[in-house]
């Protein structure tokens, strides 16, 4: 056993030495030099991003406090704007992620089986993705206008085909709840094709024989969907949840256009940087956003792992 280990170590060591020989390094350099300008470009910006984020966040505009200091962090955690933005973003993520999954599941279940004009319908479902996010946000800005937007006319009984729900038009963008809701609606509407495509790929990977076997044994479409398709789709569902949750944390355009006064972490960075002119606070919020993304992803991965184990054990 010991001899075998020594033998392996010698092989690895000699391989390593061979790899590191001057001739090999020359060859490697000769082959790879075209990659260096791009690498230099990207690495320079990575260094700039890290250097400035850390430098700015561990500094404080007050000249009496020297680098490194957590003064910006402590000040931020006492700040009501930040606390409100953190809660808003967390809620945005908690509500938006499952909503994106549900809409994606809805669309993918509608078009996963073949039918007349399936390709056309699938292309139509991709339209929201083809529109720039700013255009979608601007469209909602117009539709939810106060008092004369389409939505207000619909809910106040302006059209004969829809019952009157409210007596007065709603100032959607003037209310925290409603402005966040329309920002969330816009985000989910625009991104649902991405969820649909990922889930559709997951459904297409399922062996159709399993589905047919359940059908032969008399399972209804609903039962087949819940007991056959869903468990086999856990990997693609996990991908959707992980990717979409990250997107929710870093969302900027929809809350920026539709909920300007009520901040998420993304729009708070803009607020601190462009309105207050405090780059230290803006960088600190950026760092906190990155930390939130990392932690939320780790927690979500753990939860998904547990759910997968639970389903397999059943």
């Amino acid at each position: 056993m010991k001899n075998r280990r020594i033998c392996w170590e010698m092989i690895i060591l000699s391989d390593f030495k061979r790899t590191l020989s001057i001739e090999n390094v020359k060859q490697w350099f000769f082959k790879t030099w075209p990659i260096f300008p791009a690498m230099f470009y990207l690495m320079s910006f990575l260094v700039i991003v890290l250097f400035y984020l850390i430098g700015l966040s561990l500094n404080h505009p007050c000249s009496e406090i020297n680098f490194p200091t957590f003064a910006s962090f402590t000040e931020l955690f006492k700040n009501e704007y930040f606390n409100s933005a953190l809660i808003n973003t967390t809620l945005f993520m908690i509500l938006g992620t499952p909503l994106e999954l549900i809409t994606g599941l809805f669309l993918s279940f509608l078009i996963f089986r073949s039918f007349f004009m399936r390709g056309v319908i699938r292309s139509l479902f991709l339209i929201p993705l083809a529109l720039p996010a700013l255009v979608t946000a601007m469209l909602l800005f117009v539709l939810f206008d106060f008092p004369g937007g389409h939505i207000n006319h619909i809910i106040t009984g302006g059209y004969s085909w829809f019952p009157q729900v409210f007596d007065q038009p709603i100032n959607w963008r003037g209310s925290k709840l409603f402005s966040m809701a329309i920002a969330l609606f816009g985000k989910v509407w625009r991104d649902m094709p991405i969820s649909m495509l990922i889930l559709l790929a997951g459904i297409n990977n399922i062996d159709p024989e399993l589905f047919d076997a359940a059908k032969t044994m008399g399972a209804s479409f609903r039962k087949r969907a819940v007991h056959v398709i869903m468990p086999l789709m856990i990997p693609s569902i996990s991908v959707v949840l992980l990717l979409r949750s990250v997107e929710m944390w870093k969302e900027f355009i929809f809350p920026f256009v539709l909920a300007g006064r009520y901040h998420l972490l993304g729009t708070l960075i803009d607020f601190y940087y462009n309105e207050i002119g405090n780059s230290h606070m803006a960088a600190t919020v950026s760092i906190i956003m990155v930390i939130c993304i990392v932690f939320s992803t780790l927690i979500l991965m753990k939860i998904l792992e547990l759910i997968q184990k639970l389903i397999v054990s059943r």
Binding site: F45, V49, I269
Partner: protein, 268 residues
């Protein structure tokens, strides 16, 4: 029946807002400012007055030109840096390839809104804030990892035997690249270029932080955002349509290029 209802509902949800966008853009101003009456659901007295107004405004041309110039220079810089890198990654099985790929994607792991402050601060320091060059460099930063990944896929899909045959016939590395590999990878590289154009054309976060306060260099996205409270809704919709048309058209073109596999069957 349930499935059919679902399809109809989904189509209404997906197409409805797009229809309303088009409807607003061809609406007469009197059918938008209705004095409290409901805005018609169809284009009442359809007119192109919003588009006519837009294309008679010299400032709009300036904004359009800014967007085009920034997008084209971003493509140029992105391709100059990205094609050689994607050639290396696509053609050679290098030791440490995974590390190189991780390094390429690493800067994009930061959310745009988190990495924008350091980039703007750096550009302020070197005097490139509120300049075309600053925005082009920032957009190239965003696009370059995608160019490299799409390009590497294009180079990787070319059969090794073709390159081997060229070398046997006496071609050196540069001849092999320019006369064989580059033309064969063209569809993939064109897709990367179109993707870069789309990214730069509708990019908002970096453009906003880098250009805010200097209207002469505003792109279409910034122009649209800047006038959202001031201009009538039909004009906002018309600008939105102008912003969306290249994106939708080029998205279909990218699909076409992605499908084209010109190297299929080229090895005899």
């Amino acid at each position: 029946m349930l499935w059919f209802t679902g399809i109809i509902c989904a189509l209404v949800i997906v197409i409805g807002p797009v229809y309303l966008l088009l409807k607003y853009s061809v609406s007469d101003i009197n059918s938008i400012n209705t004095g409290g009456n409901p805005v018609p659901m169809w284009p009442y007295n359809p007119t192109l007055q919003a588009y006519v107004y837009l294309f008679s405004d010299s400032h709009f041309y300036q904004v359009l030109l800014n967007s085009v110039v920034i997008s084209l220079f971003t493509i140029a810089l992105g391709m100059i840096l990205g094609i050689p890198a994607s050639y290396v990654l696509g053609r050679y099985k290098l030791p440490g390839r995974k590390v190189l790929l991780l390094m390429i994607i690493s800067v994009r792991l930061f959310p745009d809104i988190a990495s924008v402050i350091p980039v703007v601060e750096f550009f302020i320091k070197i005097g490139m804030h509120q300049t075309y060059l600053g925005v082009i460099l920032a957009h190239t930063l965003l696009a370059l990892p995608y160019i490299i990944f799409i390009g590497a896929g294009a180079f990787e899909s070319i059969p090794d035997d073709l390159e081997g045959q060229a070398i046997i016939l006496g071609a050196n590395r540069f001849q092999t690249f320019f006369k064989l590999l580059f033309p064969l990878a063209m569809p993939g590289l064109a897709a990367a270029a179109i993707y870069t154009f789309l990214l730069s054309w509708d990019e908002f976060i970096f453009s906003y932080f880098l250009m805010l306060g200097k209207q002469e260099i505003y792109t279409l996205t910034l122009y649209l955002n800047g006038i959202k409270y001031a201009e009538p809704q039909n004009l906002l919709a018309a600008i939105s349509v102008c912003l969306s048309i290249p994106v939708i058209a080029f998205s279909f073109m990218v699909q076409k290029y992605m499908v084209a596999g010109i190297s299929a069957g080229s090895v005899k």
